[in-house]
């Protein structure tokens, strides 16, 4: 079990007792770069991601991060170090500044402006009502909010699924920039073009099980048609 931000899932089963969504998951997620979780709808990608942030616990098996079982971490500390952004960005009532304060209550104006700049948002948005942001702005604001906890890992659950192509590109560039700065990213996507643009490493899920794992080149060469289809090689 290696340290350095890697996740290790050991015989993990998750979902509803008696009708699990994930079964017999044994996989290691590298602690660097962008790992894309791919697979058809209903494969269990979101369930998988929620386990890593400990919003849910597995029914069986154990998950390790940095060599330590997730159940041994204080959940609030774990979630600040393994941050998560959702497909539908949860916007709290109030301004963008007030949304940032949820993650960091005593945030300075300078820090707030800096983090907005980091995610490519205009400083003028700081006092704007969060609910009036466009889809792309809202998602980047949520990334900014998550970054305030200075995470080692960012989990992104289909963060561009509801965005237009311009907004999607900005969020992808942000992801690449974060990965370049040392934040490990686990990115759920069923968009094979996006997967091919972003992935340093791919995990293909199908029917609640890991179908394949490896680099894009390795999976392109797979003899499994479902795997090749999931990574856009067909």
């Amino acid at each position: 079990m290696s340290a350095s931000n890697a996740f290790v899932l050991d015989h993990v089963e998750a979902g509803i007792p008696g009708d699990p969504i994930l079964r017999s998951i044994d996989v290691t997620i590298p602690g660097t770069g962008i790992t894309v979780l791919a697979g058809p709808s209903g494969a269990g990608k979101t369930t998988f991601l929620r386990l890593l942030n400990r919003l849910d616990d597995p029914l069986r098996g154990e998950i390790y991060w940095n060599g330590r079982a997730l159940s041994d971490w204080d959940p609030t500390e774990l979630r600040r170090r393994v941050a998560m952004v959702f497909q539908r960005p949860p916007l709290f009532p109030g301004s963008v500044c007030e949304n940032l304060q949820v993650a960091l209550p005593d945030i300075s104006n300078e820090r707030a402006l800096h983090v907005l700049e980091h995610v490519g948002l205009d400083a003028d948005l700081l006092d704007q009502e969060a609910t009036t942001l466009s889809g792309g702005e809202a998602q980047r604001m949520c990334v900014a909010r998550a970054l305030l906890t200075e995470p080692d890992v960012l989990l992104a659950d289909e963060p561009t699924a509801a965005l237009d192509s311009a907004a999607r590109q900005k969020v992808e560039e942000l992801g690449e920039s974060l990965a370049g700065s040392g934040v490990a990213i686990v990115w759920v996507s069923h968009d094979t073009d996006q997967l091919r643009r972003l992935a340093d490493h791919v995990i293909v899920l199908a029917d609640g099980m890991v179908r394949a794992t490896g680099t894009l080149a390795e999976l392109d060469a797979s003899e499994d048609a479902i795997v090749r289809q999931s990574v856009g090689a067909i």
Binding site: N53, R54, D57, R79, P90, A103, A146
Partner: protein, 268 residues
């Protein structure tokens, strides 16, 4: 003059007076028949039920509040009220986890706090005659607000799940992640009571005061009793809903600060 004819003495309207007040039920029934509301049977049944229930309660109460009787009869009466109110709450908010136990704790806490102040500061004499009715006011007036806050908290947990989990994912504790929804539910339960308190004396004359004045007590004395009762109700509702909501918010989250998934219970 009429009162004398009906034999109404101070605090006692007599059987004739009681029967005469039944004319007002007849008026309601007549209106129902005239406008074809289909409520005549319900009106009669409700009126008859209220008559029997209150006569029975009054008959039993005269033994419970007798100054010669030991106070444990009063205590038994109060416990029965708490159990019945808790059972009613559990029926009306059946989706709340461990609702019966939470209700018992909430009503008991309100009774201890409010009665503790009323008797601790010797606002009323500590005897069955005061203990039972005041406890009844504590519990009875808290019931609707307790059910309301319970339902509001569950609705928030279901409908605002994305916001709650959004806060949890940022590393907030379960209590911090749920705090805005808890605050809103408590406000929803308390605001009607605050509005009622503000309107008292202007928009309506409250029951306790009217009852005392009808029983011959001087209005200035009746007002003092009424004010203490209004404060009692405010304190009761606030205590019960606060204890209930804290208990529910603990039930909604796992020890690992995860929002539990609920399976709604079917209505019976």
């Amino acid at each position: 003059m009429t009162a004398v004819l009906l034999g109404i003495e101070q605090g006692d309207i007599g059987l004739a007076g009681l029967a005469a007040s039944g004319i007002l039920v007849a008026v309601a029934v007549a209106i129902s028949l005239w406008r074809q509301l289909g409520l005549a049977r319900s009106l009669l049944w409700a009126s008859f039920r209220a008559l029997v229930q209150l006569l029975a309660v009054g008959w039993v109460l005269q033994f419970v509040v007798d100054p010669d009787d030991p106070l444990y009869w009063s205590a038994l009466w109060i416990i029965s009220m708490i159990v019945f109110a808790s059972w009613t709450t559990s029926r009306r908010a059946r989706d709340v986890p461990h609702v019966l136990a939470l209700s018992l704790v909430s009503y008991f806490a309100a009774a201890v706090v409010v009665l503790g102040v009323l008797f601790g500061f010797q606002i009323y004499d500590f005897e069955g005659r005061t203990l039972v009715p005041l406890a009844g006011m504590v519990i009875g007036n808290s019931l609707a607000a307790t059910v309301l806050v319970s339902r509001q908290l569950l609705i928030a947990a279901d409908e605002q799940r994305d916001l709650i989990e959004g806060r949890l994912a940022l590393g907030l504790s379960a209590s911090d992640a749920y705090k805005p929804h808890l605050r809103q539910a408590l406000r929803t339960a308390l605001v009607p009571q605050i509005e009622t308190t503000k309107a008292v004396g202007i928009v309506f004359l409250p029951g306790a005061m009217v009852g005392l004045i009808l029983a011959g007590v001087a209005p200035t004395d009746a007002v003092k009793v009424q004010i203490s009762v209004m404060y009692l109700v405010l304190g009761s509702v606030a205590t019960t809903t606060a204890v209930m909501s804290l208990g529910i918010s603990r039930e909604l989250f796992t020890p690992a600060q995860q929002l539990r998934r609920r399976t709604p219970k079917p209505d019976s």
